[in-house]
């Protein structure tokens, strides 16, 4: 009986929290006016969320592309179609790996930092102090970070894919010696701008909203203690990663069902 009640409590708590997070999301959108009027606030956060994530995104992209080049070559070679290596590398990256892997990296690099920062600002009463100075912390602190995340994510995903394609080229063409002309021309012929590239950008845009929303909410909602903030940071990474994977499946099934 007690177990049933505990399960019920958890379910109700979860739904309540989801509702609270949705209201928070609506509040962030409604409080975004200040951020856009003072765009420098957003630019500053783009530096912290986007620019400082560049190294991990670029290096990971390069290595993922290089591995794709190696594995792809091994498999394609069996069927004598190694000239399609460029297509394989580009499509895997642009459609899936670019948005998903850079989203996961963004969640653990920038998302966790946002949660920790907001959580600590709350724990050290900085948000309360702002509120006391008649400055709305959601408009001044949360909204600029939200838009910075939403703007940064698609750009990071695009850079990840570009770097990955370069990695595939390095391994496939420079190292193994696949024909350079067919590598690029087949890629150009097979990758469709609307079907593949725009859909990939759309995915990373959606992931950007999800990750930043989760990170900011977890930080804003964190209990104002050391354990509270560390727990919230962990939850950000876990929840964002699951959200990215779940959303990716849904988006893929909507976007590519004709194929």
């Amino acid at each position: 009986m007690i177990n049933v009640r505990a399960i019920g409590h958890r379910a109700v708590d979860g739904i309540w929290r989801l509702g609270y997070a949705s209201r928070f999301f609506a509040l962030v959108l409604a409080s975004s006016g200040t951020a856009f009027r003072r765009f420098r606030l957003i630019v500053r956060e783009i530096y912290f969320a986007g620019v400082l994530s560049l190294i991990i995104i670029l290096v990971s992209g390069l290595f993922v592309g290089m591995v794709l080049g190696l594995q792809g070559y091994n498999t394609l070679q069996t069927y004598g179609s190694e000239s399609a290596l460029g297509v394989l590398v580009a499509l895997s990256l642009v459609r899936e790996l670019g948005p998903v892997v850079s989203g996961l990296l963004f969640a653990s690099r920038a998302g966790s930092a946002m949660t920790a920062e907001i959580g600590l600002m709350k724990a050290t009463e900085q948000l309360a102090a702002m509120e006391m100075m008649a400055v709305d912390p959601v408009a001044r602190v949360v909204a600029p970070r939200f838009w910075a995340g939403v703007i940064s994510m698609p750009l990071l995903a695009a850079l990840f894919s570009a770097m990955g394609i370069f990695g595939g080229y390095l391994v496939g063409v420079v190292l193994i010696g696949v024909d350079e002309g067919s590598f690029w021309s087949q890629m150009q012929a097979a990758v469709d701008f609307r079907e593949d590239i725009l859909n990939g950008v759309l995915k990373s845009f959606v992931f950007g909203i999800a990750v930043t929303w989760i990170s900011l909410f977890e930080g804003y909602d964190a209990p104002p203690t050391a354990e509270g903030v560390s727990g919230a940071t962990t939850r950000t990474v876990v929840t964002s990663s699951l959200a990215i994977l779940g959303l990716d499946f849904m988006l893929t099934s909507l976007m590519f069902r004709g194929i």
């Binding site: 600590l120 600002m121 050290t124 009463e125 309360a128 102090a129 509120e131 006391m132 100075m133 008649a134």
Partner: protein, 271 residues
Amino acid sequence: MPGSMASDNLIELSGVDFAYQRRPVLTGIDMAIPRGKVGAIMGVSGSGKTTLLRLIARVVKPTRGEITVDGKLVNELDQQAVYDLRRRMGMLFQFGALFTDLSVYDNVAFQMREHTDLPERMIRDLVLMKLHAVGLRGAHRLMPSELSGGMARRVALARAIALDPMLIMYDEPFTGLDPISLGAIGNLIRRLNDALGATSIVVTHDVEEALELVDYVYYLSDGHIVAQGTPDEMRSSRDPLVRQFVYGEPDGPVPFQYPARDLATDFRLPD
């Protein structure tokens, strides 16, 4: 304060109750702080002192009763009016609550930039004046992480008076300070209040320091005001609760032992 005319009081609370999740925190609070004075709210930890400040700043609403600040009933103000009121209040938080991503200079300039259209040159002069008042003009380039506890508290004080508020509230301003910083903060509270023509409320359990500098004391216990008076009246009070607090006696009306089962049961003594 009893006896003073109503219009002379910057802050008045009458019959204020506050409950948090149906648990009463404050009950039947009557209080008045006259303009230009420094009032203290004292009491042991958890007696509801900080909640009183939050009520005055309308961070929370009372469950019952009326709170008036500068002639305005704060219970009924909408968000915009609350913000307008808060622009005329400064608050010093327990550990300063400086914005850690901004320099000392930008912390003090924060409200001027948010709420005024002053040119940057004028802001610079104002910021340096405020920092000069707390003795830290030379530290304006430092980041909060480079400050000692006492310095951080003084910067926070400069930030709290940035817009020359009519009311300055201090939440445990002496906690965790060395004797020199403690004396400096105590001195500043009094001096700034008198120089700015402001009114101040100090929430503290630091008896000696507070009794030296304030004009009037409200003593809070379990959410009730159980004693009040001038510092001298508090020192000579016969109320056992006040005496225990003022002279720091370990046992008394506030018991040393946390409530427990009786001794014989816990140590399994024979009857």
